[in-house]
Assembly symmetry: D2
Homo-oligomer: 330 residues x 4
């Protein structure tokens, strides 16, 4: 049984509370937010105690691990406190928006030898995990290309965009992590082209909403990522891997598996699952399950601070490539 406290009480906090509550090997001990009523909203719903600070939490209860899903700019301070207290950490992505601060996080975690996992939940999606396993088993021979399509159903509010660290650190970072994980490599060259085609407000906020990124791996493997903030037909999440022996492709998910043929069209299907909470529900459960089992078995989590740092470094290079109009060598 792992006893959890949780930093942050937004959408991700709510999700993690739900999952912990359902997991028979986890217990929700406390939710921490300097804005105590916000923390209380979650504990009223899921149990545990609300605390205004980590110190309060430590004084009142015994915890094993902290989930960090507070705003990104608070991560470093929280990681500092938690790692000094010797507790395990599951930190939402990105760890931070600055590589220097990420390096400080890594130094803290390593100095205090606390287990650390970064929340790249998509690795734990059963279909994506199966794809990667089959690549590793050689089911498509030698890997040549990876293509990732990741399009949101609708753009977030402009206030979210403004605090997000930009499209690449907020969203492309997931695809970057998957590209690295699937290929087993770290890019040597990054090129990004992007536009603002979905919502002018995003452009005014200094961000883009439509992007294509090319990663070149040391082996010569090429990766393509395309992102859009708005796909009217649902949350479009596909991966295609192509190799000397063939191809693997994931399919999008729907709640209703029904096709309709009429005098206008044939085989028309319902919209895709509409949001990441729905589409990736299983992945978050699996992520927590693996975190728990890694703590219980003393095996380091499979996705760690170095993975978090690497994906951030590449995401930052996407932004730089876009600004400078050139490929960035890493």
């Amino acid at each position: 049984m792992i006893r959890f406290c949780l930093f942050g009480s937004g959408r991700m906090g709510d999700l993690y509370c739900q999952i912990i509550t359902r997991n028979p090997n986890a217990e929700l001990v406390g939710v921490i937010n300097p804005n105590l009523p916000s923390a209380k909203r979650l504990t009223d719903k899921y149990g545990g105690q609300a605390f205004a600070s980590f110190d309060d939490c430590l004084q009142h209860s015994d915890i094993d691990a902290a989930i960090v899903c507070s705003p990104t700019n608070t991560h470093l301070e929280i990681i500092s406190q938690v790692s000094r207290a010797g507790k395990a950490i599951l930190c939402e992505k990105p760890i931070d928006l600055s590589l220097e601060r990420v390096d400080q996080c890594i130094a803290l975690v390593e100095e205090h030898r606390v287990p650390f996992m970064v929340g790249f939940n998509r690795r734990f999606d059963p279909t994506i995990a199966a794809l990667r396993a089959q690549v590793v088993e050689g089911k498509i021979g030698k890997l040549n290309m990876v293509l990732l399509t990741s399009r949101d159903p609708a753009p977030p509010p402009i206030e979210y965009i403004e605090r997000s660290g930009g499209y690449f650190c907020d969203s492309t970072i997931h695809d970057i992590d998957l590209a690295c994980w699937i290929t087993g490599e770290t890019p040597v060259e990054v090129f990004t082209s992007a536009s603002c085609l979905v919502d002018e407000g995003i452009g005014k906020a200094g961000d883009v909403d439509t992007a294509m990124t090319t990663l070149k791996m040391p082996s010569g493997v090429l990766c393509h990522i395309n992102n859009s903030r708005k796909a009217v037909y649902g949350f479009d999440q596909r991966i295609e891997v192509f190799g000397s022996g063939g191809m693997l492709q994931t399919q999008n998910q729907r709640d209703i598996l029904l096709s309709h043929s009429t005098a206008e069209a044939t085989d028309a299907k319902p919209l895709l699952k509409h949001f990441f909470l729905e589409r990736y529900a299983q992945s978050f459960e699996q992520e927590i399950a693996e975190f728990i089992s890694s703590l219980e078995s003393n095996i380091p989590p499979s996705v760690n601070q170095e993975d978090g740092r690497r994906a951030l470094e590449v995401a930052l290079a996407c932004g730089q490539s876009l600004r400078e109009g050139r490929a960035i060598k890493l």
Copy 2:
């Protein structure tokens, strides 16, 4: 909050206990089995108390409803006890293997005015429910044909076959209920052709394992059902409805949505979900949820004793048609 007791502690009992335990509006009070250790196995796992009889259960606890998933030949006696006690009943299909005894059940239920639901769970599958809703909304115009494919991944043990009441009362009965529910009609003519092609032991036990049934509805709508005890590629469950304005088709379900293309074949996908517990997991949850909400709102359950009787009558006619080699008029 509905307080449940449950009769029977086999596979279906285990499933219902799981679902009740997870449902925030339900409480598992007791499991009843004359073989007390078998009941205790479930209560050890899911909570509640084990009882050897319904009387014991009533003496020790306050219940609102009983779930009947004991062997079919015990249903009448249990329904008699529970309805006399004035408790609501959710009874697994078939209610009984004899129409006369089903009529006795119906008489008891109606005399004591207890809410009664029969466990035709497939109606509650989100995809099948959506298909039926779209038929009702006229999305394919006037209905002409219904085609149901229902093939098990593997035959049950011969002992199960021997006690099952035969393939039609055990399995086809689900498809018959769906055909009636989707068309909103009761067949006037039933024809069944069948063989034993999967397992000789099934034939020796006097049953068939491969069957095709044609139902004709009063409106002229035609229904086809095909059943097999063994589909090596998984649990094959498909419905196609065809009308003056088009067609609706359900797709089979897989856990992993991945396709593989090689020099041998393209777009190959993993096997289908392998068993009814997996494939119809959501439907059982929805069934219990509707049962609870019907009790809480005093609205009669949408699938009742008459539905159970009708499906049995048609299933028995399938057997008669096969034995006599002719269409049976109903």
Copy 3:
């Protein structure tokens, strides 16, 4: 080079003229129709000479084979003339609507030892031929079930219906032939249920437009055929075969392979190929090609008078089953 004359100058005559004209091993010598201007319409378009009678044709030209696609009730007389003249015959289905007259045709053909092929073109469709080849090769183990869906895009004119010999002899006969060919068996039991749901005029003409047929083969293999005179989404032609080792399914054909996803629906595709001339274009070409190569190599055609007789016998049994409301033993 095979020199052809052709009886009949309707839609099928036009199609066969086209195919013969394109085939480098065939020559269109004459088109025969007592209504000479009708024959001339074809020869003006495709070449060859128009004749009012077979005798005229024989006097003026040297022919190797006759294609018979005149009205069904003229087949016997034509087969009689052509077989006496010792020429090969490709006869459209059905050979005749009466088994007695078909037997006379067979006797003539066998007496005069002329090569005879019946126009079950669907056997020559590349996809259907591949399906049957894979069944024969054991790709799905021991065969258990065959399901054939055959739905026209729109009903023919009532005048066509009136002269068609009824839905089973006109249309189901194709599916019956495929069922026999794929299973390698001849049914021992036939049951048909049918309605008039598409067009009242068809019912007034004494025919049905919506039908389901079950065939039982000596081995116990079960076949289902469903037919409709009107599928608004196009010409729906599917075959599914199911066996101890798996399943094969054919897919419908479209001219444009494009899918459309919007805020209303996903993966919507264009309508199916709309008519048999389009859908089965390749099959007719292959049929003629095989007929020619069988004549050139002196190997009897793969689909002969016995196949034509068998399919008719089963089609007639469908009608009898419908009229008498019982299964017909063959």
Copy 4:
């Protein structure tokens, strides 16, 4: 009736001869090749006369148009001769490998006012043409992204590679033309990353076999192209367009539409059509048909010298981008 002569007698020459021979509005007058026996091989097969030079051809026969599918380095000289003679020209892509020489071709064609079409056959594929028409009609709203996948079934011989002008001018040029045609725009920025992963020999010949290209259009629309010289599952040709109102995707083509489900995999399909001659057969026929009808109606061909020049310019920029490791502004 258009009277054609044809320069070159390789694979493309054979294909064009076939198509012209089948087209009722075209006549094959002559095949021109300084290597006369090579030209004779085609005329023996398809008719017409073999000539060693265009002058010979003009002296002996009256022609309306020339098809130029000789080696690329001969195009300029041939275009010079044919345009001076005032005949229409259908020229295979690329017009030339040098922009300067392409400009000379354009000058000649415009000076002599001869109709000129460049052989971007893929625009005439019915599925691709339908996709573009639906984009133009606004079926996916405002266009945001275009993704083109174009992978050959197997690499050509090294000798072909050596004379091909490189992967981008030989192959990517088709995808570039489609991207420009579908978007109605000309790229302002080109970035290409590429590797040699398929065949070391290609790398030794100074070329690449695996490439990803990003095009940015003036409107901000982004295009991705991925190319590989070897897809073991067949000729992989897909286009996806994504916009504010939805998405259109083309599907790959197969000769046999059959899916196979077993205990190992479900829905496995045959390999894709294996080569461009098969996959794009219809497109070549349509291309010739449009060329003929443009000549007969005096409407300029829809794909002209400027399209040929633009695609080459972008293809050359791909190579430059790869060599210099940066985005090229156009």
